[in-house]
Symmetry: C2
Subunit: 252 residues, 2 copies
């Protein structure tokens, strides 16, 4: 399984992913699920993946090839103008379309073979980033290559094992939260998920894009001995227990 969170706030983007991949409990491995596409000062994008590892690796490979994943006429009837890659896309919507096209290309290659052996074609992505002179944007791209964009009302996306860590995000994060708050919340949400689900695990990859910097402000690998994450884990657990014990007991 997987847990990834992408959050869009007024001052930028926070992206956090775990790194556990499993095919049954006796085949557990570590694979990074975060990929970055950066031209410093000009554009910065972060892509996170969930689903079948062979599929997501094939998509990412296609995206990093030079002429990768040009939307074809079939993908995008009536489209004119030059084909794009993540590093040449005109805007973030176009970039999301590049990822969707790559997914469709891999679908054409693999889906029939997967299906013939009883496997579903299963891969999804979160793409966040900013291109100079435009606004930061965040997209959730589905297996079929279609996608939705984060808005003021819904300013985050999750992939994978999303339920354990959702209540805390819903309670504390909004579009006006700071990048620090968003990063802190993403880590608390990840901690709750890791505690409840064996298939989500360390190390984590964290990327922060500060609005209008168009580069990766922060790009960290966080392991069990990261001092800040350790502190958050410990204090959050202690504080929850304190708050819980301070709530009045029922009189029944």
């Amino acid at each position: 399984m997987t847990y990834c969170i992408g959050m869009l706030v007024d001052t930028g983007l926070v992206m956090l992913s775990d790194s556990r991949t499993n095919a049954g409990v006796d085949q557990v491995s570590t694979y990074r699920k975060m990929f970055t596409f950066v031209r410093p000062g000009e554009r910065a994008m972060v892509l996170m993946s969930a689903g079948n590892l062979a599929t997501t690796q094939a998509v990412v490979n296609l995206l990093t090839e030079t002429k990768a994943a040009e939307p074809t006429e079939a993908d995008d009837p009536g489209r004119t103008g030059s084909a794009a890659t993540l590093l040449t896309a005109d805007d973030m919507f176009d970039a999301a379309r590049v990822v969707g096209s790559a997914l469709r290309e891999i679908y054409r290659r693999d889906a029939k073979a997967l299906e013939s052996q009883g496997h579903e074609f299963n891969a999804s992505f979160i793409l966040g980033g900013q291109i100079r002179g435009q606004l930061p944007r965040l997209f959730h791209i589905y297996s079929a290559g279609n996608f939705i964009e984060a808005t003021t009302d819904t300013n985050y996306f999750q992939l994978g094992e999303s339920k354990y860590g959702k209540p805390i995000i819903d309670r504390v994060i909004s579009r006006s939260s700071s990048l620090s708050q968003a990063a802190k919340c993403a880590l608390v949400s990840m901690d709750s998920t890791i505690r409840s689900n064996l298939s989500v695990g360390l190390p984590l990859d964290l990327a922060i894009i500060k609005r209008d910097e168009c580069r990766l402000h922060t790009h960290l690998s966080i392991d069990g001995d990261n001092p800040y994450f350790s502190l958050i884990r410990r204090r959050w657990g202690e504080a929850l227990q304190e708050v819980f014990s301070e709530l009045p007991n029922p009189s029944w």
Copy 2:
């Protein structure tokens, strides 16, 4: 969907269920999922259900019929002695077997017809209670009529939409928690679930069995205007936000 929690602590049992039933978002109804079987001073049992409503209602109906759900030779080869109902079972293990047998009886009646129309046979139960002179016990009964029992290490069971509300239980409840703490925690867990999932809803049914009383110490219907639940919802939300803002921000 459904959310039910049963907790076994040293001093008794707490059982909490929601009441929302839905077949699609445009067919939402209120059905109680908690059923009680009590002979005051002699035995008290609480049963909570999840799954196909027609199936769980048929099981409960069978359990409330006079000679309901006697384990048959097929269910229980080699069994001797008199047949039991929930109100005559010798011990709680036997009572769990009575529920399992009722499930198997409904399976025999309905599963083929359900399957022929593409529906799965889907029903599960939590049964908690105490019989005088014995210990309080808690069981999770699966669709196949088999079941597991709560232990010191794992002292609670959930049915239905369990993930949103699991982290808080894992953090604050153990076998030595008081009944008040367990009831408070069940309500906080239910609140997190209701906030995150439209298919879980009020009113709630709460039952508390105090060890060795062998009756329902508390049996309440909790609606949106219940003062204690309103207080818990408000204060827990506020406290989480306070605790979160008091956690140090990262320096990245």
